[in-house]
C-alpha cells in the first residue's frame, strides 16, 4: 500500500498536499483499493466554501457509494473534471492524476488535526492486523 511522503492524511483516508495557500485533495491508496473499481464521482462545485472535515464529494464503486470529506477548510477553486468521464484515474493514480479538488486554504493551523505519513502508515498497519 503506497503512502505518499509529501502529503498529510485524515483517518477517513483522504490526503491533502499543501502548496502555500492552496492545496490538492484526494483519496489514499488504501481507500481506492478498498472501494475497488471506481465508476462515478460527484465533484464539488468550484467556489463552494467547506469546513474542515465537511463532505466534499461522493464517490461510487461497483460495490458501494461513499462520501469524501475535505481534510482542511477552504474554497474549492478547481476540480479534476477529467474524473467525470474517467473516474478510474483514482484507481490508477490516486496521489497524482486522480486528485479530486484544489482548495484555497482558510487556516494553515488546521493541519495539526491531520496525520503525518508516518502516523498514517501506522494506522494502515493497525487496520491490516
Amino acid at each position: 500500500m503506497e503512502v505518499a511522503e509529501d502529503v498529510l492524511y485524515t483517518k477517513e483516508h483522504e490526503w491533502i498536499k499543501i502548496e502555500g495557500d492552496t492545496a490538492y485533495v484526494g483519496i489514499t491508496d488504501y481507500a481506492q483499493s478498498a472501494l475497488g473499481d471506481i465508476t462515478f464521482i460527484e465533484l464539488p462545485e468550484a467556489g463552494v466554501e467547506l469546513e474542515q472535515f465537511e463532505q466534499m464529494a461522493s464517490i461510487e464503486s461497483v460495490k458501494a457509494a461513499n462520501d469524501i470529506f475535505t481534510p482542511m477548510s477552504g474554497k474549492v477553486i478547481e476540480v479534476n473534471s477529467l474524473l467525470e468521464d474517467k473516474p478510474e484515474l483514482i484507481n490508477k493514480s490516486c496521489f497524482e492524476k486522480g486528485w479530486i479538488a484544489k482548495i484555497e486554504l482558510n487556516d494553515i493551523n488546521e493541519k495539526a488535526n491531520l496525520m503525518t505519513p508516518q502516523e498514517y502508515g501506522k494506522l494502515l498497519e493497525s487496520l491490516d492486523g
Binding site: G36, D37, T39, F40, E42, E60, S61, V62, K63, A64, A65, E84, P87
Partner: protein
C-alpha cells in the same frame, strides 16, 4: 468475548486466498467477492471465460413420480411434462404466496430429480421439501457432498470441450452426465450471467482438482460474486434476498411466466386471490442518466412522491451508466412521469426500460 467466525467455507477457500480473493460473508458463507477486480472479471466473462465457485448453493435429490411424490405441488412450474435431461426454472412458495426461493428442477430420469436452490437457509428448505413430499418420495439433501463450479463466457464451450469432448451437444437449459476427471458428473448448460455457460456438479472433496484443472488453461480466470452480481443485473435476473423474498409476490416480481396456473401448487390460492384483488406493486427496470448508480434500498420517486424502492442497482459496464430494478406502486401511471431514485434531497434521474439491459450475450450461441 471471543467472536468466532461462523461462516462456512467451500472446498476452495484456500484456493481463493491463493488467488488473492477478497472474501466476504454471503448467506452464511465466506465467499470471494473479487480477485483481480470486479470490472476486469466482468470483461473476462463477457468476452472470454470465467470460473465461479458456487459450491455454497444447495442441491436436493428426489426419487419418485412427478405428481405422486408431491414435487409437482412444491414447484410453481409444471414438471410432469419436463423432458428428460432438461431443466426448468421456477419457485417454491409458502401458502400465502410468498417466495421461499427460486430454484431449478433437473429431470435426471423418469422418476429421478435434482433441485438446485440458493445458499441461504438450505436446511429449512430441505425441511420444507420433506414436509410437503409424500411418503412415495425419497428425499436427500446432497448439498454437503456436492461442489459446484460455473464456467461462463463465450469461450466456455471451447474450454470445457478439452475436458468433456461431448459438451457441444448440450442445448440451452439441458444437461447430461459426463465423465470428467474420473467422475461421472452432471453438467448443465445454465448460468446466471447471460453468456454461454455451464454449471458443473462435482464431488465436494475433489472440487479442488477440477478448479486447478480449469485454471491451468490460461484462457480461464476466476470471477467472484461482485462480477456475478453485475452480470446478472445487466440481464435483469432476480436475486433472492433482494428482488425476491417472502414478502414479495411472484406476481409483483414479474415472474408470472414461471407460474403454471393450470396445475396445483402451494401458494396458488393466495396468488389467485391476489390476481382477483390486484397486487400492490410491480417490478420496473431503469437506467440512470449518467455514471451514478441506483443502489439497493434507494427510494423511487415520481416528482416528489415516493412510490417504491430499488431492489437492486449497480453500474453497468456495457452501458457505462447506472442500472437498477425496483418495486413501485402498481396503481400509478408512470407514462410521461419523471422518475428519480435516491433519498428525498439527493436523487438521480432514471428512465424506465425493459430487461435485459445487456442484449449481446452469448447465452444461446
Amino acid at each position: 468475548m471471543i467472536v468466532e467466525s461462523i461462516e462456512k467455507q467451500t472446498p476452495l477457500y484456500q484456493e481463493h486466498l491463493h488467488c488473492k480473493a477478497r472474501m466476504v460473508p454471503f448467506a452464511g458463507w465466506s465467499m470471494p467477492v473479487q480477485y483481480e477486480g470486479i470490472l476486469a472479471e466482468y470483461e473476462q466473462t463477457r468476452k472470454g471465460v470465467s470460473v465461479f465457485d458456487t459450491s455454497h448453493m444447495g442441491e436436493f435429490t428426489i426419487a419418485g413420480k412427478a405428481r405422486e411424490s408431491g414435487l409437482d405441488r412444491i414447484v410453481t412450474q409444471r414438471i410432469v411434462d419436463l423432458p428428460l435431461n432438461t431443466c426448468r426454472y421456477g419457485m417454491m412458495l409458502n401458502s400465502q404466496g410468498g417466495i421461499i426461493d427460486d430454484l431449478i428442477v433437473y429431470r435426471v430420469a423418469e422418476e429421478q430429480w435434482m433441485i438446485v436452490v440458493n445458499a441461504a437457509d438450505i436446511e429449512q428448505k430441505a425441511e420444507y421439501f420433506k414436509k410437503n413430499l409424500t411418503v412415495a418420495a425419497k428425499f436427500k439433501n446432497i448439498s454437503q457432498q456436492t461442489g459446484k463450479l460455473d464456467i461462463q463466457g463465450p469461450l466456455s464451450r471451447q474450454v470445457l470441450a478439452e475436458l468433456v469432448p461431448m459438451i457441444d451437444q448440450l442445448e440451452y437449459f439441458s444437461f447430461n452426465e459426463f465423465d470428467l476427471l474420473g467422475h461421472r458428473v452432471i453438467i448443465s448448460r445454465t448460468g446466471y450471467t447471460g453468456e454461454l455457460g455451464y454449471e458443473i456438479y462435482f464431488p465436494w472433496d475433489e472440487l479442488i482438482v477440477l478448479w486447478k484443472k480449469l485454471l491451468a488453461n490460461k484462457m480461464v480466470k476466476p470471477a467472484g460474486l461482485g462480477a456475478r452480481d453485475v452480470l446478472r443485473l445487466e440481464m435483469g435476473y432476480s436475486l433472492y434476498g433482494q428482488d425476491l423474498d417472502l414478502t414479495i409476490s411472484p406476481l409483483e416480481a414479474g415472474l408470472n411466466g414461471f407460474i403454471d396456473f393450470e396445475k396445483d401448487f402451494i401458494g396458488k390460492d393466495a396468488l389467485l386471490a391476489q390476481k382477483q384483488s390486484g397486487v400492490k406493486r410491480k417490478m420496473v427496470f431503469f437506467t440512470s442518466e449518467g455514471r451514478q448508480s441506483p443502489r439497493h434500498h434507494y427510494k423511487i420517486f415520481t416528482e416528489n412522491a415516493p412510490i417504491g424502492v430499488v431492489t437492486s442497482g449497480t453500474f453497468s459496464p456495457s452501458l457505462r451508466k447506472g442500472i437498477g430494478m425496483g418495486l413501485v406502486d402498481r396503481t400509478i401511471d408512470l407514462k410521461e412521469k419523471k422518475l428519480s431514485v435516491g433519498e428525498q434531497n439527493n436523487r438521480m434521474i432514471v428512465y424506465l426500460t425493459q430487461r435485459p439491459f445487456y442484449k449481446n450475450g452469448s447465452l444461446r450461441n
